[in-house]
Point group: C2
Chain length 261, copies 2
Amino acid sequence: MGTEGHADGTVGKALDVLDLVASYGRPVRFSEVLENAIYPKATLYRFLQTLTHQGMLAYDADRQTYSLGVRLVRLAHAAWAQSSLAPLARPYLDELASQTGETIHLAQMDQGQVLYVDKRNATRPVDMFSQAGKVGPAYCTGVGKAMLAFMPAEAVSAAVARQSFHRFTQQTLDSPEKLMAELAAISARGHAFDREEHEPGIICCAVPILSRSGKVLGALSVTSTTSRTNLQALEGHAATIKDCAARIAAEAENWRFPEQN
Amino acid sequence: MGTEGHADGTVGKALDVLDLVASYGRPVRFSEVLENAIYPKATLYRFLQTLTHQGMLAYDADRQTYSLGVRLVRLAHAAWAQSSLAPLARPYLDELASQTGETIHLAQMDQGQVLYVDKRNATRPVDMFSQAGKVGPAYCTGVGKAMLAFMPAEAVSAAVARQSFHRFTQQTLDSPEKLMAELAAISARGHAFDREEHEPGIICCAVPILSRSGKVLGALSVTSTTSRTNLQALEGHAATIKDCAARIAAEAENWRFPEQN
DNA sequence: GACTAAGTTTCACATAATGGAACCCAAGGG
DNA sequence: CCCTTGGGTTCCATTATGTGAAACTTAGTC
């Protein structure tokens, strides 16, 4: 988690440290960071200094703790705003949410992991920042499998290699073989299910968002619970979701023209 | 905006480049970045490569454009979640929003600028990511002035030095002197107003969120329009807002104990 | 007042960043 | 078809930067 395998260059190392601090989820002392860091004291110290000076970290002099800095929030606003899908998919998600009355997730693939970039919640009005930015496993979520199923072979194997195949529930696909078989089925069917593979009682139906050229832009899912509904009913939404995905893809298509060239 | 004054070390420069890319608000070509960068071609190229390799930027091979990477969104989620105020202030903002029926902003100070970290909108249910992370001027917003008024002298002068004093409206305080006088008044009164200083028709009443030791943690404001209400009416909410700010501060107080020591 | 742990600074050394220049290559244009 | 143009990429000698063991400075403790 915190420490990546090999960090190229000085900035790579610095970003490693940033991730490490982030991984605590709370302000941390220098010595705490030091314990989990792969860098010697002086080096780590300098990195923390630099990052703090740059506003990527914030240092609380009273408590002598480092936490993530506001510059990140600012950057993220920009990142989210220009992250291909999220802002432009907004109205479509709203529509889909009201059509289905269920929870909607919009996700993208990030290094073999699912990154949720937006969400509509049936009950609670909204939870944006708190949910968007979250990451999840690819091999046992609807959106994850939907994206994998439509990615080029070598990207899939790279992603599969990074999966933990932890067995969250009875239904979790716990091996690359099972996953590959499932991906084939999804690819044929056009949509993926989550059959309580990640959390008991939570099911979903997901479809990929594909560009005209077939590139996976992201995925869209309708989530519910076994107590409220079942897979058959969710599959009933499949056409609606696909339609929504198609419209988001279309929107993305002409969005990609900042200027003529 | 993009290029900061002086960037210490290699990571500083890299982050500069990151900001620069972010500042475009859309995917950019190498040559475009080069135009506005202060680094020579080869150097810039290497930075973009590194940042891309690190997931801070994303490179679209088809269009040959760089945009902000998903790693940022992930980091920002963590940043927001642990950024002192926003998550813990959440329920209080909800409450304040329903009490006042007006738009609520929660902001923090970042390098002399106001950074909005959360928002409740009276009419539209919510706009999180799209609003949080936004930055605004400190000298002509309620939250900005509320924070400045309670910051230590040298921090204030540092911040004031960074203000542009652009005259957004007739009412904008367009000089350090006017601002300092206003800050004194705010400090005495305990709350700040925005008298259409930033946008015509937009008024607000803001209070600082102060820690027990008197440190400025952030600010809270109730915003409305001149067509709906007036300053006197907003001032009527002052006590409510102050109470809310006090409770957020109290919550922040015992939040700051990750472990005993 | 000696002991300890956390945090900070130093400095000789090695690595990594630098950027001018050369190179590649696709797109025009004569 | 060759020549040019310009964005994009790579090379490599030079040099600035980062490196980290060790020394040092607090701030607590017994």
